[in-house]
C-alpha cells in the first residue's frame, strides 16, 4: 500500500518534470526554427509585401516567381555549378588522402610516428590567417588564382582533423587481422587495400559528407583565393549580390533557401553519420 502510494507520487513528479522538459524544448525549438520560417516566408512574398508593417510570417499572396527571378538575376546556376565543383573536389581529395595517411598512423609501428602525429594535431591550432598571405602570394605566382586549384588541391594532401578521425577509427580494429595477412605474405599496400580500407567505410562516409558540407559552406577560402567572377561559389556570389542589391530581400531569401536546401536534404539522408561522427569526436577528443 505505502509502496504503491510512493510509486504514484514519484510518477507525478516525473510527469511534471517531463512536461517541463517538453515545454522548454518546444519553446526554444520554435525560436530555433523561426529563422528558417522567416527565410522561406520572405522568399515567397511579393515585393510589395516585403516591407509591409505590421510584419507577418505567412504571406497574403504567394509569389513563387521570386525563385526563377533569383536564379536569373544572381547567376544562380553558374554559382551553383561552381559550388558543386568545389564541394565534390574537396570531398574526393579528402577521401583519397586521409584514409591512406590514417593507415600510416594507425596500423604501422614506425619510429618517430607519435612525434609526427603530435605535429599533425598541432597544425589544427594554427589560425587560417597565418597561412592566407603567403599562400595567396604563392598561388598568384603559380597562376592558380584564376582557377579552383587553391581550394581543391590542398585537400589531396590530407587534413589534420580527418587524419585524427581515421586514425582513431582504425585503432579499433583488432591487430590479428593484419598480422594474419602479413604472415601469409601480404604487404602493407595489400593489407590497406583489401582489409583495412573496406572496414573503414563508416569513417570514409563521415569524411565525404563532412567535407562536401564544408565545401558547400565555405566563404573565406573562395573570398580570398577566387579572383575570377566566373569561378565564384554561391557563398561569394550571394555576398556580392547582397552588396549590390541589399534591399532585394525576396530574391536574397529565395536564393538563401535554394542554397540551404541541399544541406538539409544531405542532413536527413545522413542523419546518423552526423550524429555519430560528432559524438565520436567529442567523446574521444
Amino acid at each position: 500500500m505505502t509502496a504503491a502510494v510512493a510509486r504514484r507520487s514519484t510518477d507525478w513528479s516525473l510527469v511534471s518534470q517531463r512536461l517541463g522538459a517538453h515545454l522548454s524544448l518546444i519553446f526554444f525549438g520554435i525560436i530555433f526554427m523561426l529563422p528558417f520560417l522567416w527565410m522561406v516566408s520572405s522568399s515567397l512574398k511579393p515585393s510589395a509585401e516585403i516591407f509591409e508593417i505590421p510584419v507577418r510570417l505567412i504571406p497574403k499572396t504567394f509569389a513563387f516567381t521570386n525563385y526563377p527571378d533569383a536564379i536569373e538575376s544572381i547567376r544562380f546556376l553558374r554559382y551553383l555549378a561552381n559550388t558543386f565543383i568545389y564541394a565534390v573536389g574537396l570531398m574526393t581529395g579528402a577521401v583519397l588522402s586521409n584514409v591512406f595517411i590514417g593507415y600510416g598512423f594507425a596500423r604501422i609501428d614506425w619510429p618517430g610516428r607519435d612525434i609526427v602525429f603530435i605535429i599533425v594535431i598541432a597544425t589544427m591550432m594554427l589560425p587560417a590567417q597565418v597561412r592566407f598571405i603567403p599562400l595567396f602570394i604563392t598561388y598568384s605566382k603559380w597562376g592558380w588564382l584564376e582557377t579552383f586549384a587553391p581550394l581543391i588541391v590542398p585537400a589531396f594532401f590530407g587534413n589534420a582533423f580527418f587524419v585524427f578521425l581515421v586514425r582513431q577509427f582504425m585503432l579499433t580494429f583488432p591487430r590479428d587481422l593484419d598480422d594474419a595477412a602479413r604472415v601469409d605474405g601480404a604487404n602493407e599496400l595489400m593489407i590497406f587495400w583489401r582489409i583495412v580500407a573496406p572496414l573503414s567505410k563508416p569513417a570514409i562516409i563521415t569524411i565525404a559528407i563532412f567535407d562536401f558540407m564544408w565545401g558547400w559552406h565555405d566563404y573565406i577560402n573562395p573570398l580570398v583565393f577566387l579572383r575570377d567572377p566566373d569561378k565564384f561559389t554561391l557563398s561569394v556570389g550571394l555576398r556580392l549580390f547582397f552588396s549590390q542589391y541589399g534591399a532585394e530581400w525576396a530574391l536574397l531569401m529565395a536564393a538563401a533557401t535554394m542554397f540551404t536546401l541541399p544541406m538539409i536534404v544531405v542532413f536527413f539522408f545522413a542523419q546518423r553519420t552526423f550524429i555519430e561522427g560528432i559524438s565520436f569526436t567529442g567523446v574521444k577528443g
Binding site: M39, F192, G282
Partner: protein
C-alpha cells in the same frame, strides 16, 4: 611493389640511426613514411612554408604593390602594440565577443542537452531542430539574420512591436551589434549540444541511483554528478569554440562590416581587411602571429588551468 626497393636504395643516407635498425623496423619506417607522404608533402607546401614565409613577412614592409619587401625589424610589432590599425580596439572587441559567446553557448547548450537527456519522447525530432542551423551555410545564415534583425521590417522587432516594445536597431547600434553576432553564433552551436548529449549518455546510471538513496534532490544531483562528469566535453567545446571564434571573419564581414563605430571589428576580420583591402601584407602577417600567440596561450592556459576540475576517470 617496385616502390620498396627504390625507397630502400635511396634511404640509407637519412642518418646513422637507420643502419642500426633491424630490417623489420627499417621496413616499417619506410612503409610508414610512404603512407603519410601525402601529408608530409602537403605539410611542407601548405603549412610549413607559409608559416615561415608569414613570419618573415611580419618583419617586412611587404605590400602587393612594392614587390620587393624591405626588412623593418620589429617595427610592425611595435606599431601593433601602439594601437596602429585599431589593433587594441579590435583585440578588446574580440575578447568580449569570445567571452560572451563561449559563456552563453556553454550554458545554453548544456541546458538543452540536459533537457534532451530526460528520456523525452520525440528526442530525434528535437535533436534535429537544434542541429539544423548548423547545416545553413554561413552566408545564407548571415543574410537571413541581417533581415531578421532589420530594425523596421525584421521579424524580431516585428514580434516585439506586437507586444508593444520598441525594438533596438540591432546591428546598427553600438550597444547591441556585438551581442547580435553572439546570438547568431549561439543559434548555430548545435554541434556542441550533440557532444554534450553524448557525454550525458556516458554517465553511469548507478551514480544517480546511489545519490537518490542518499536522499539527494535533482538540483543536488545536477551539481554533484552531472556537471562534474560533463567537464571533459565542456573543456573540448570551450577550447574548440574559442579557437574558431577568435578567427571569425565571415559574420562581421557580411553582417556589420566591423561597425557601427568599430563595435564589431573582430581581430581576425580586421586582419583580413589590412591584408586584402589595404594590402599591408607585412603588417597583417604580424597581426596573424599575434593572433596565433593569443590563441595558443589561451588554449594552453585552459588545458592546464582545467586540470584540477576536469574529470577523466571514466
Amino acid at each position: 611493389m617496385s616502390a620498396i626497393p627504390q625507397l630502400q636504395a635511396t634511404q640509407p643516407r637519412r642518418g646513422p640511426g637507420l643502419r642500426h635498425m633491424s630490417p623489420v623496423t627499417r621496413r616499417r619506417l619506410l612503409w610508414g613514411i610512404l603512407f603519410i607522404s601525402p601529408w608530409l608533402i602537403g605539410f611542407v607546401a601548405f603549412t610549413a612554408y607559409p608559416v615561415i614565409a608569414s613570419l618573415y613577412y611580419s618583419f617586412t614592409d611587404f605590400n602587393i604593390i612594392n614587390r620587393s619587401p624591405n626588412l623593418v625589424g620589429w617595427s610592425n610589432y611595435a606599431d601593433l602594440f601602439q594601437g596602429r590599425e585599431d589593433s587594441w580596439k579590435s583585440m578588446r572587441v574580440t575578447f568580449r565577443y569570445v567571452a560572451m559567446l563561449v559563456g552563453l553557448a556553454t550554458v545554453f547548450d548544456v541546458f538543452i542537452a540536459m533537457l534532451l537527456n530526460m528520456n523525452v519522447r520525440g528526442l530525434s525530432l528535437y535533436r534535429t531542430v537544434f542541429y539544423l542551423p548548423v547545416m545553413v551555410p554561413v552566408v545564407a545564415a548571415s543574410l537571413t539574420w541581417v533581415w531578421i534583425l532589420n530594425p523596421s521590417h525584421g521579424l524580431v522587432n516585428g514580434i516585439l512591436a506586437r507586444i508593444g516594445i520598441d525594438g533596438p536597431n540591432w546591428l546598427a547600434s553600438e550597444k547591441t551589434a556585438l551581442f547580435s553576432l553572439v546570438i547568431v553564433s549561439v543559434w548555430g552551436s548545435g554541434r556542441a549540444v550533440l557532444i554534450y548529449l553524448a557525454g550525458l549518455k556516458e554517465i553511469p546510471q548507478h551514480l544517480y541511483e546511489a545519490a537518490s538513496i542518499d536522499g539527494a534532490n535533482p538540483w543536488r544531483k545536477m551539481w554533484a554528478i552531472t556537471l562534474p562528469l560533463l567537464t571533459p566535453q565542456m573543456l573540448f567545446n570551450v577550447i574548440t569554440m574559442t579557437i574558431f571564434s577568435f578567427q571569425s571573419i565571415a559574420a562581421p564581414e557580411i553582417m556589420t562590416g566591423g561597425g557601427p563605430n568599430k563595435a564589431t571589428l573582430l581581430f581576425g576580420y580586421q586582419l583580413y581587411r589590412v591584408a586584402f583591402e589595404r594590402l599591408k601584407m607585412g603588417f597583417a602577417s604580424a597581426m596573424a602571429w599575434i593572433l596565433f600567440v593569443v590563441i595558443l596561450v589561451l588554449t594552453i592556459f585552459m588545458f592546464y588551468g582545467s586540470r584540477n576540475f576536469v574529470h577523466y576517470e571514466r
